[in-house]
Amino acid sequence: MAFLELRGLNKIYGKNHVLQDINISIPEGKLISFLGPSGCGKSTLLRCIAGLETVSDGKIYLDNKDLTDVPIQKRDVGMVFQNYSLFPNLTVFDNIAFGLKIRKEAKEVIARDVNEMLDLVGLTHKKDRFPAFLSGGEQQRVALARALIMKPKVLLLDEPLSALDAQLRKNLQNEIRRIQRQLRITTLFVTHDQSEAMAISDIIYLFNIGKIESSGSPIEIYMSPKTEFAARFIGNYNLLTSEIFSELTGCRLEAAYLAFRPEVVKLSEPEFGDDSYFFSAAVKEVNIHGNFIRYVLLAGKAEFSMDILSDLGDPLLIGETRQFAIRKDCVLTIHES
């Protein structure tokens, strides 16, 4: 049995089947992301593991113990919420010490552990501040320290970075990863941001309407999407039906969809050979994204995007028609819709 095992988990609210037959095995010490759009059930699953929601059916096992009906207080899990939920009347020190005080630890133990945690999250100099006087990033780190100090078997992070600005998010992603590796704590990270999941995870579970759509390492999920949803949600894949792809390239492939990432579309060069599909397309839109430019190209009924690094020559102009190429091994066949 894996360290954390979810077997046949279902959650039903009235007529809504929020989680449908979830089966997951999570090894110890890994950082797992639950990725998916809003309302897909990923946060509900996290809340079921925490004990904040009851499951309608199925079992949760943690470290060989059945956790399904264990009260929240005795589950040995830590959780960081989207809005941090710090206690406004307590200082940073007391917020972090709260769980240990409830557990009636000795004062010396509390002081030692809290100071260690403050050091770990880099907030020693702000230990006497109240949450209202901290920035969003600092509040997030206090919430993380408050969860970690209890030495939980599993750390649950429910979109902990979604309220922060882009730069701070990246910094804290790295910080969460550093702390997780340092403490080797099994961590479940809920996010709707695919780039965040890619950057931080050992394994990603992709959710769609209460079901696991696919799972694997970030590179597997990104490079080999198995379903139309996975292809659309991860990596901004271009998806063309078999007919449209045939009209575009002159080659017919048997599949529900043909998928290719925007960065594999290239401006045609003389050295490209038989290993590529060639076609002519017009530039419909040009979107500057900083380090790359995203073009929307139009060829007959086919509309798709192409990413080119910003430093590769002059940008194409809207309306310009050029010859493009895609390497054949970069086109994936999707059989499920």
Partner: protein, 264 residues
Amino acid sequence: MKKILSHLWIAIVSILLLLPLILTFIYSFSQSWITILPKRFTLDFYSSVFGDPSFFPALFRGFLISLIPIVLMNAAVMLSLYYSILYDSRLGYLIQVLCLLPYSIQGVILATSIIGLYAGHQSFLSNRIFLLTMTYCIIILPYIYQSIRNSFYALNLKNIVEAGEILGAKKFQILLRVVLPSLKSGLFVSMLLSIALIFGDFAIIKIIAGNQYQTAQMYLHNTRNMPNQIASAIVSVMFLIVFVISSLILMLKNDDLKTDRKKD
């Protein structure tokens, strides 16, 4: 020009509002005032009020009858809202309707109805002090409810309780260690507002308890056959007390605003 006009308007309104108070205050010190200006000033009326052994007990009773309904209603509303937010949010709507209903009932009508309903009852329900306490409970209910509800929403109660439970605490421990201390400012404001409201009431106490329970307002009513300066002195003292209470409320609100600004 606009600025001058607005300042002028504020000055006129301020004078209109303050003039009766200032004149009452001056009158309470005057020996007699039958021409444009008072003739002589004296502290006799104040010494007469403060020397009366029934004045301070009346003040005390005024505070007591204010405090009991406030404590009762704060406890009732807080526990009901705590339960509804944590366990059954649908109850929240029912609590809101019940708590805001007294806004639509005028105090005098309420008091008269209560007397009509319970006066002849052969039980503790006809006890006038009990009836008065319960009437004040109904009157202050909307104010207490609004204040506590706003504090709960600002606190994000459900998430706070969930965070505490995951750290091993029971709901009751979270209520005592986190929720109540966080609501302190909101509770204090609602308490002071209610004290000011009840302490200044005369009509309801007159209808329900009459002289059976003499508060400061009833004491004032009973001085109607004495020199008018005595009534003015009592009004001045009571105004001063309510003013102090209002100032405390303002101070607390300003503290909250400062905290919010620092948070931003």
